[in-house]
Symmetry: C2
C-alpha cells in the first residue's frame, strides 16, 4: 500500500521503517525538503540507517519529500509531526491531498515551553484529533498510537503481555481499517479498544501526563497499559 | 486506627465498610449531618446495609457526623467527596482538624454541568490534589485511589491480574504510609507506583476521561490498568 507520513523525526522514521519492512511504499516528509530528500544528512538522527537500509532492500527510492508529496502519495496518511506543529504541517500537505483518505493522527499536543515535564497545549473540552478533523472535514481522521512510544507503536509484542491500544474517529470504516489492518494485522496489537467518536481523542491525549510520570517511575519508555477486568 | 472520611456517598460508604472490616474506627460525614447521623434513612444508597452491619459487628457506634467531626476523629483523613465540592467540604472540616494529618485525596474534579461524559473542572497545569494542599498547607496530602471505581479501590484482587495504583505527594513519609499500609497491606494492591511530588496528581486526575471511555467500551467499571514493560 502507498503510505504518506507527515513528519521526518524519530517517530516518523520508526513507523516508516516498519511499514517498509511490511512491504508498503512509504514517503516520509519534512518542512525542510532539502533535509528530507538527502537522507545522507540524517546521520545524527536515530534509525536513519535502518530506514535507508529498508529502502534499499525494497528498492523504494522516492521515500522522502515535502508534506504535500507525502500526502499526495499516500492512500493512507499518518500525522507523525509534533502536535504543536501538526495543523501547520497538514495545511502545507494540502486539504485536497487529504480528502477522502484515512488520516491516522498519532500526535500529542505537547507544550514544552514551560519546561519539563511538558503540559498539553489544549485538552479536556477539545483535542488535537478533533482540531485536525475540523480543519480537514473531508479527511477520515482516526486517533491512535499516540499513547505509546514509537518503538512500542510498531512492536507491541516486545512487551511481556498484550497491552491496550485505542482508536477513536467519526468514520467507522476508517477506524475499522486502522483497528484490524494497521494495528492488529500489521503491528501485532492484541487488545484494541474502540472508544467511539473522535471526542475519544481527548482521553487518548490526556493520558500523556500520566504516561510521562509512569515513564519516570519505571525508568523506561518501553511500557504500556493493559486493561484488566474482573472475571 | 481512627479514620475520618469526608463524604457519605457511595465511595465513602464503600471505603468505610472495608476500613471497618479491617478493624479501624471510622467516621463518615456529610454536609447534611441530619442525614449522616441517621443511617436508617440511607436505605436507598448502595451498601448502606453493609456499612451498618460492619458497624454492629465491631460495636462502633459514633460512625457518622459532620465534616469537622470526621476530620477531628481521624488520625488519617480521606477526602471522598465529589471533586467539585471537595474544597468547601474540607473548609467545613477545618484546617486545624487536618493539620499534621495524612489527608488522602481520592476525588476527581469532574464537571457534569456540560452533560455526559463529564469533563474536568481544571487540569493540565493544576489539579485538585495540588489545590487541596495549597488550601491546607499543614495537611500531608497524598493523591491516590482516584483512578478506579470504589469497588476496585478496596478490592483490587477481584480483577484477574495485579493492576496499577499511583501515589503522589510532597510528604514522603505520608506517601509511604499510603503506599505500604493503606494500599498494599490493607487493600491488597500489588503494583503501586510512586509518581513523585503532588504535581503527579495532574496525571492521575487526567486519566479520568480515558477511564470513562474505556468503561464505555468495556461495559463495566470493574477494571483497571496494569503497567506492562519489556523484559
Amino acid at each position: 500500500m502507498d503510505i504518506g507520513i507527515i513528519g521526518s523525526g524519530r517517530v516518523a522514521q520508526t513507523l516508516a521503517t516498519k511499514l517498509l519492512e511490511l512491504g508498503n511504499r512509504v514517503t516520509i516528509s519534512s518542512r525542510d525538503t532539502t533535509k528530507a530528500k538527502d537522507l545522507g544528512d540524517w546521520g545524527t538522527i536515530p534509525s536513519a540507517e535502518a530506514f535507508a537500509a529498508a529502502q534499499r532492500k525494497l528498492g523504494w527510492e522516492a521515500a522522502a519529500g515535502s508534506f504535500a508529496d507525502a500526502a499526495a502519495h499516500g492512500e493512507v496518511v499518518i500525522n507523525a509531526t509534533a502536535g504543536g506543529h501538526s495543523l501547520n504541517a497538514l495545511q502545507a500537505a494540502g486539504a485536497d491531498n487529504l480528502a477522502g483518505k484515512i488520516l491516522v493522527d498519532i500526535a500529542n499536543p505537547l507544550d514544552f515551553s514551560q519546561g519539563m515535564p511538558p503540559t498539553l497545549l489544549f485538552c479536556n473540552t477539545e483535542s488535537l484529533g478533533e482540531r485536525v478533523q475540523a480543519a480537514f472535514p473531508d479527511a477520515r481522521v482516526v486517533k491512535s498510537l499516540n499513547t505509546v512510544s514509537a518503538q512500542v507503536m510498531v512492536d507491541p509484542r516486545q512487551l511481556t503481555e498484550p497491552t491496550a491500544m485505542f482508536v477513536s474517529g467519526n468514520d467507522q470504516a476508517a477506524k475499522d481499517w486502522v483497528h484490524r489492518e494497521l494495528l492488529e494485522s500489521w503491528f501485532g496489537w492484541e487488545q484494541v479498544l474502540d472508544l467511539g467518536d473522535l471526542t475519544g481523542a481527548r482521553g487518548q491525549e490526556m493520558w500523556m501526563p500520566l504516561w510521562l510520570r509512569v515513564m519516570g517511575a519505571a525508568g523506561t519508555a518501553a511500557f504500556n497499559l493493559r486493561i484488566v477486568a474482573s472475571t
